[in-house]
C-alpha cells in the first residue's frame, strides 16, 4: 500500500480524527505503557496524520499498548489514540505469517493460575 492508502485505511479502521490533534500530549502523559514504547501515543497520531506509518508498523510499540483507553478518555480533542494503535497493529498482524502469538507458544507461557481470559484476550490482540 502507498502512504496515502495506508493512512486512509488506518483512519477508516480506527474512526479516529487524527487531524483534530492539537499536540498537547495528554495521551502520552496518561499512558501506562509509555516507558515500554518506542513510539508513544501522541507520535502514533502525529505519524499517521503525516502518513509516515511504516516506522510504526515496524515498531514493537504496537504490541505494548494495553488498550486501557486512558488516552481515549483524557484526550481533550476526541482523537482516540488507542484506536489508532490498534489499527496499525491489525494492519501488521493481518498479513500472512505475521501472527505475534501462536497457539504453540501458549504451553510455554501457561501456569496453573493463568485465567482463560488471559489467553483468549492475548490471542485476540496478537493473532489473526
Amino acid at each position: 500500500m502507498n502512504k496515502q492508502d495506508l493512512k486512509e485505511e488506518i483512519v477508516r479502521m480506527s474512526g479516529s480524527a487524527v487531524e483534530k490533534c492539537m499536540r498537547c500530549g495528554k495521551c502520552s502523559a496518561s499512558c501506562p505503557s509509555y516507558e515500554d514504547m518506542e513510539y508513544h501515543p501522541h507520535e502514533f497520531v502525529y505519524l499517521v496524520e503525516k502518513g509516515d506509518i511504516e516506522k510504526l508498523m515496524a515498531s514493537e510499540s504496537i504490541y505494548k499498548c494495553l488498550t486501557c483507553f486512558a488516552c481515549v478518555e483524557r484526550c481533550p480533542r476526541g482523537v482516540e489514540p488507542a484506536k489508532v494503535v490498534e489499527a496499525v497493529r491489525l494492519i501488521v498482524i493481518r498479513e500472512q505469517g505475521m501472527n505475534r502469538l501462536k497457539p504453540d507458544d501458549i504451553p510455554g507461557l501457561w501456569d496453573k493460575d493463568l485465567p482463560q481470559q488471559a489467553i483468549v484476550t492475548a490471542m485476540r490482540k496478537y493473532t489473526k
Binding site: R23, C24, S30, Y34, R74
Partner: protein, 663 residues
C-alpha cells in the same frame, strides 16, 4: 406605468472578473418596465451614486435595482442617494451578485446567468414596492448596566461622565466583580484592588450613577429608546439607608462557620457580613440560610448591637420598575467546573486549586495575609506545578472549545511572583501553546522563564496522584524531551477555563439578545459592530461577549459607553418601516404569530366588525407594535390565514421573486 432603472456594479474585479457585467446590463435592459440600464466600476462611489441620481431625475424612475454587493454593505448608501434625488428610499432593491454570486462561483458563464436571474428577481420585487415612511420614537435618557464588575463599572462611569444617568444592577452585595479578588494584574503587576477600588468609590459618589446591589433583573419589555425593566432588590434584612457599614454586627454574630465566598471558602464569615473591607456599597447583608433569627427566631444579637437600628428581619424582596433608553450586558464570567477533570484530583486533594484560588492565597487581604501556604497543612510549598488549558480548547461535552485567553498571562504572573517571593520554590508550567498577543505580554512571559527560572514544559499532565505523605505525584509528558515525567509537587494550580455567567442565558432571553453555542453574547458584527448586540438598544461590555483580559475589557467598556452615549444623545429614533402588519379582516385571532414573535411585538384586540347582514360581531385580532417589531418575518410564515404581511417584504413580493427566478 412603472419605470425601473437597473445599475450593475463591477466592484473593481470582485464582480467583473467572474460575471460578464455588460451581458447582465443587456439582459436586464430587456426586462419589462426597465427604462434604463447601466454599469459602473464602483457604484458606491460618489460618481456611481451620481449616475443613479441623474437617471432617477432624467427618466423619472419609479424604482431602482442595484446589482452589487450584499445589502448589508451598501443598501443604506443607495437608499440615501435615491432619497436625495426625490425617490422614496424603500423603492430601492439590491441584488447581491457579489457574496451570493461572483465570490462563490468560478465559471463565468454560469455566474453571469445567475447574476441575470438575481437581477430579474430584484426587478420583480421592485415592481411591487410601495413607498414607506419610517416612524419615530422617543429616547429615555437613562442607561442600565447589568453587572458591576470592571466592565460594568467602566461603562457606567463613562456614560455618567457624559452627563447621562445610569443604573448598575449587581447580583452580589457589592460591586467589584472578579477584579476585586485578583491580587496583581499583568503585565505591569499593579495591585488589582488599588486600581479598582477608586473606580468603585467613583461609582458610589457620581451623582449620575445609582447602584442596585444584591439585585437582579426580573423582566425587560419595550424596545430601543424605551425599555421598561423590573429589578428585584433582594432582601438584605438591613436598611440600606440606616446602615453605616461600621461592621459591629459582623463581629458579634454568633454564626461563625459560613464559608466566605470572597475568599473562595478558604476562611469563614458570619451569617451577617460585609463581603470585603472596600465593598461598595459598604452595607451589611444577612444570609437568610444561615441566620438563626431568620431560621427559627432565636438570636437577634445583630439587631441589639446595631446603633443605627438598621437591622430589619421583616424586610422582603422589593420590585422596582425603571425606564431606560439603552441596556448594557456586562455579566462577566465564572470559573468552569474543574471537577469534571477527575484526573487532576481537585476533589481528592485540598492542594489542587484553581488559579483564582491561588490569587486569594497570595493576596494580602486573603485568608493567609498574602503568605503562600498550601491549604491542606498550612505549610510552605516547595514545588508548584501549574497546568494550563484545564477545560479550555477541549471539544468534549464537559469542556470549552475556545481558548480562555487570559490563562497564559496570569500563570506567567503567578509563576514569576512565586519565584520572586520564594526563590526556594521550584515552579513548573505545563503548556500546550503559550499565547501572549498583547502589548508587553510576550516580554512578560519570557521574563518569567529567563529571569525568574520558571520551568516551562511543553506537554500535558495526564494524572495527579495524591500520596500518603501529602505530596502530589504529577504524571506528565514532556514532548520536547519525549519523556514521561513524574514530579512530586506540594501544590498544583489549575488554569480553569472561564465561562459566561450562568445568569447570562436567562438575561439574553429577557433582552431577546442572541448568544453563541458557548453562551457568549453575539455581537452585531464581529469586526465592525463589536460592542452592540444585533438587538437594537442592547450593548455588550466585557467577558460576556467573549474571553478578554482587564485592559481589553476596559477598552471595550469605553467603546460600549460611547455607543450608548450616541444613542442617548438623540431625541428621537427613526424606526424601520419594514415591519409586519395584520389584515384584520383575514385574522382569526389564533395566536400563532404572537407565539413565534421573538420581540413580543404582537398583542390582541377585541374589535367590532360589521357583518354583511348589518349586524356587528366582536372578533379577536392581532395588532403589531411597529416600534417593537424588527421585521424578522417569523409571524408571516406562522400565520395560517395569510393575514400577516411584512412591509417591504410582502408575501406577493417574495412569490414574484420566486416566479422570476423560475421563469
Amino acid at each position: 406605468m412603472q419605470k425601473i432603472g437597473v445599475f450593475v456594479c463591477h466592484c473593481g474585479t470582485n464582480i467583473a472578473a467572474t460575471v460578464d457585467v455588460k451581458a447582465v446590463v443587456d439582459a436586464l435592459a430587456k426586462e419589462p418596465s426597465v427604462v434604463f440600464a447601466a454599469d459602473y466600476p464602483y457604484m458606491c462611489s460618489e460618481s456611481g451614486q451620481n449616475l443613479i441620481k441623474d437617471a432617477i431625475r432624467e427618466h423619472e424612475l419609479t424604482g431602482v435595482v442595484i446589482c452589487s454587493c450584499s445589502p448589508r454593505m451598501h443598501e443604506v448608501t443607495f437608499r440615501r442617494a435615491a432619497a436625495s434625488a426625490g425617490l422614496n428610499p424603500y423603492l430601492v432593491e439590491v441584488a447581491n451578485i457579489r457574496e451570493q454570486c461572483s465570490w462563490i462561483h468560478k465559471d463565468k458563464a454560469e455566474a453571469t446567468e445567475k447574476a441575470i436571474i438575481l437581477g430579474r428577481a430584484a426587478i420583480a420585487k421592485a415592481l411591487l414596492n410601495a413607498p414607506l415612511i419610517a416612524g419615530e420614537s422617543p429616547v429615555t435618557k437613562r442607561a442600565l448596566v447589568i453587572g458591576g464588575g470592571i466592565a460594568g463599572i467602566q461603562t457606567a462611569l463613562d456614560i455618567a461622565e457624559a452627563g447621562f444617568p445610569v443604573d448598575i444592577v449587581e447580583q452580589k452585595p457589592t460591586i467589584g466583580g472578579k477584579m476585586a479578588q485578583i491580587d496583581k494584574t499583568f503585565p505591569t503587576l499593579d495591585c488589582s484592588a488599588c486600581i479598582l477600588t477608586p473606580k468603585m468609590v467613583e461609582c458610589a459618589q457620581n451623582e449620575n450613577i445609582r447602584i442596585f446591589s444584591y439585585s437582579e433583573v426580573e423582566s425587560v419589555s419595550g424596545f430601543v429608546g424605551s425599555f421598561t425593566v423590573k429589578i428585584r432588590k433582594k432582601a438584605r434584612y438591613v436598611d440600606e439607608v440606616k446602615c453605616t457599614g461600621c461592621g459591629l454586627c459582623t463581629e458579634k454574630c454568633p454564626v461563625k462557620n459560613v464559608p466566605n465566598e470572597f475568599n473562595l471558602g478558604f476562611d469563614n464569615r458570619r451569617a451577617v457580613y460585609i463581603p470585603f473591607a472596600q465593598a461598595i456599597p459598604k452595607i451589611a447583608v444577612i444570609d437568610p440560610d444561615r441566620c438563626n433569627m431568620l431560621k427559627n427566631g432565636k438570636c437577634g444579637l445583630c439587631s441589639r448591637v446595631c446603633e443605627a437600628g438598621a437591622i430589619n428581619y421583616k424586610q422582603t424582596d422589593e420590585i422596582v420598575e425603571e425606564h431606560y433608553g439603552a441596556i448594557v450586558a456586562a455579566t462577566g464570567y465564572e470559573i468552569s467546573d474543574v471537577t469534571r477533570y477527575g484526573e487532576y484530583a481537585y476533589t481528592e486533594s485540598k492542594d489542587v486549586i484553581t488559579s483564582l484560588e491561588f490569587e486569594r492565597l497570595t493576596n494580602a487581604a486573603g485568608p493567609t495575609g498574602g503568605v503562600l501556604l498550601r491549604p491542606s497543612d498550612g505549610k510552605h510549598p516547595h514545588t508548584i506545578v501549574f497546568i494550563q488549558c484545564v477545560g479550555s480548547r477541549c471539544v468534549l461535552e464537559k469542556g470549552k472549545p475556545y481558548c480562555s485567553k487570559i490563562c497564559c498571562m496570569y500563570t506567567a504572573k503567578h509563576a514569576m511572583l512565586t519565584r520572586e517571593k520564594y526563590p526556594d520554590t521550584e515552579v513548573y508550567v505545563f503548556y500546550i501553546d503559550v499565547r501572549t498577543p498583547g502589548k508587553n505580554f510576550d516580554e512578560f512571559y519570557r521574563r518569567a522563564a529567563e529571569e525568574f527560572g520558571v520551568h516551562y514544559i511543553k506537554g500535558a499532565v495526564g494524572k495527579i496522584v495524591p500520596r500518603a505523605d501529602g505530596t502530589l505525584d504529577v504524571q506528565a509528558a514532556d514532548l520536547i524531551m519525549d519523556e514521561q515525567l513524574r514530579i512530586s509537587a506540594d501544590l498544583v494550580v489549575l488554569a480553569a477555563a472561564i465561562e459566561p455567567s450562568k445568569t447570562a442565558r436567562k438575561l439574553a432571553t429577557m433582552l431577546t439578545a442572541s448568544m453563541d453555542t458557548n453562551d457568549f453574547f453575539t455581537e452585531a458584527h464581529p469586526k465592525l459592530r463589536p460592542v452592540e448586540s444585533p438587538t437594537a438598544g442592547i450593548f455588550l461590555s466585557g467577558v460576556c461577549q467573549g474571553p478578554k483580559d482587564i485592559p481589553e475589557t476596559v477598552s471595550q467598556a469605553g467603546a460600549c459607553a460611547a455607543k450608548v452615549i450616541g444613542l442617548l444623545s438623540k431625541n428621537k429614533l427613526t424606526g424601520n418601516p419594514c415591519v409586519a402588519h395584520s389584515d384584520e379582516l383575514m385574522c382569526n385571532g389564533c395566536s400563532s404569530c404572537a407565539n413565534v414573535c421573538p420581540y413580543g411585538a404582537i398583542t390582541y384586540l377585541d374589535k367590532e366588525f360589521r357583518m354583511p347582514d348589518r349586524t356587528t360581531k366582536v372578533r379577536r385580532v392581532a395588532s403589531v407594535n411597529p416600534a417593537v417589531c424588527q421585521g424578522c418575518g417569523a409571524c408571516t410564515v406562522a400565520c395560517p390565514s395569510g393575514a400577516m404581511d411584512l412591509s417591504g417584504f410582502s408575501n406577493s413580493q417574495i412569490m414574484a421573486e420566486v416566479d422570476a427566478i423560475c421563469r
